[in-house]
Symmetry: C2
Subunit: 255 residues, 2 copies
């Protein structure tokens, strides 16, 4: 996930040629039952998880579907088979696409999809002290970030697991976590999702699809993320730094 490059370094009017580490970015093409659906730019690790998390998080395949994954790491292609074509919701995705945010957006359709679902009703409780120390752990784990400054990190905390992923894409890191969760057939309603990066509405949509009750970020949420979290029953914690944090929605899960 790291590459060495030659650079020219400027420090206080002095110049020197040196080498530095940068985050690797590579394309990964995802096919669903043999049909190419997307090429993501990502950090080349855990590509099977990324592909599975992506198709689930985008609502292309329902949770619980049996998936078969064939990864060709060298060519950067992963093919996911669902067994039955009925399990693939490409039509809705195609429709979404028409007004969907290629490159950065999410469509009205996705927003409406998610608002029509039941809200996350898990009554879990989590101590702010635990949240603060997990965020510190996330930062300590961030080896690629510490070396390159070029990736986002995310972690999924469930009983007995603290799973950690890094990626050049903020959403990819989240997709990898949900791919891990799915591929390992885990089932834990009490999930906490930790993020280094900002929380936009798209993260809430993905988290809702995965049934995450609590999201914690080191950074800022947007207005739409807060509004959506409120609507779909997610507790949103932002600016989690040192001994401080802000809670933006569904306070009652935080003790």
């Amino acid at each position: 996930m790291i590459k060495e490059v030659s650079i020219r370094k400027y420090i206080s009017q002095e110049t020197r040629e040196t080498v530095d580490w940068v985050a690797e970015e590579r394309p990964l093409t995802i096919a669903l039952n043999g049909v190419e659906i997307v090429t993501l730019l990502c950090s080349p690790s855990h590509l099977d998880e990324l592909a599975v998390g992506y198709v689930l998080g985008e609502g292309l395949v329902p949770r619980g579907a049996e998936l078969e994954i064939r990864l060709d790491e060298e060519r950067g292609i992963v093919d996911i088979s669902t067994g039955s074509a009925n399990l693939v919701n490409l039509q809705a995705w195609g429709k979404r696409y028409v007004t969907s945010g290629c490159g950065k957006g999410t469509s009205f359709y996705q927003l409406n999809d998610i608002r029509q679902q039941e809200s996350v009703s898990i009554l879990m409780k989590v101590k702010m002290k635990e949240i603060l120390s997990s965020m510190t752990m996330l930062q300590k784990h961030s080896q690629v970030f510490l070396k390159t400054g070029g990736v986002h990190s995310a972690a999924l905390q469930i009983p007995d697991h603290f799973i950690f992923r890094e990626d050049v894409g903020r959403h990819n890191a989240v997709d990898k976590l949900f791919g891990y969760y799915t591929l390992n057939k885990l089932n834990a309603p009490e999930k906490i999702l930790y993020l280094s990066g900002r929380i936009s509405s798209e993260i809430i949509i993905k988290a809702r699809r995965m049934g995450v009750p609590v999201i914690v970020s080191r950074s800022a949420p947007t207005s739409l993320a807060i509004q959506l979290a409120e609507e779909v029953g997610i507790t949103l914690v932002g600016f989690t730094r040192g001994t401080k944090a802000n809670v933006y929605s569904h306070y009652t899960r935080i003790e």
Copy 2:
């Protein structure tokens, strides 16, 4: 671009209810000659610029085309007319879409498109001292960031202009700048693009389409961004902070 929200604040084990400022995020649907093509999530300012910058930066419409813009701010819709349907490259975009990174990616097609173009050959020179002071200016301008922490900032420097934009989306801030440049019929080969955020390959693709010879960021570039900048003739400067900076490609434009 800023909204007030009610939050619960935790500071060193004390809790209080208060209000805070967050960056506003809203959907904007872009139509081209009456056909909806995309809904972006963005900061609601300079929406006409965003729409124009988007269709140019994605290669949907060629530079130099006469554009007519109708913006319905309340409904969040902007319609761009090109006069002639021949000027819209929706087919190539549709093809790209099949393997394109909805939400975060860029396809092989886009990478190949851009590699087939001539490289940026402008022989401009810029002093590192000027780069460092412009980056400081970018940070001072970042009012929405200072208040919310939830946006990226970008600036376009051309002779007699230092144009500044902020947006919840890293790419949107760049699109707005190119929208401004296009709508004001500016023509300056010697452009410098300043960014607060990371540089991924998609930013290089957009910048290449706009003919930008120099990109300067406060943050890290990815390996693919560096490789692409090298190939298409763009000077890439990263980690521009205080008196320091790293130059990753085409050093000769920096004095």
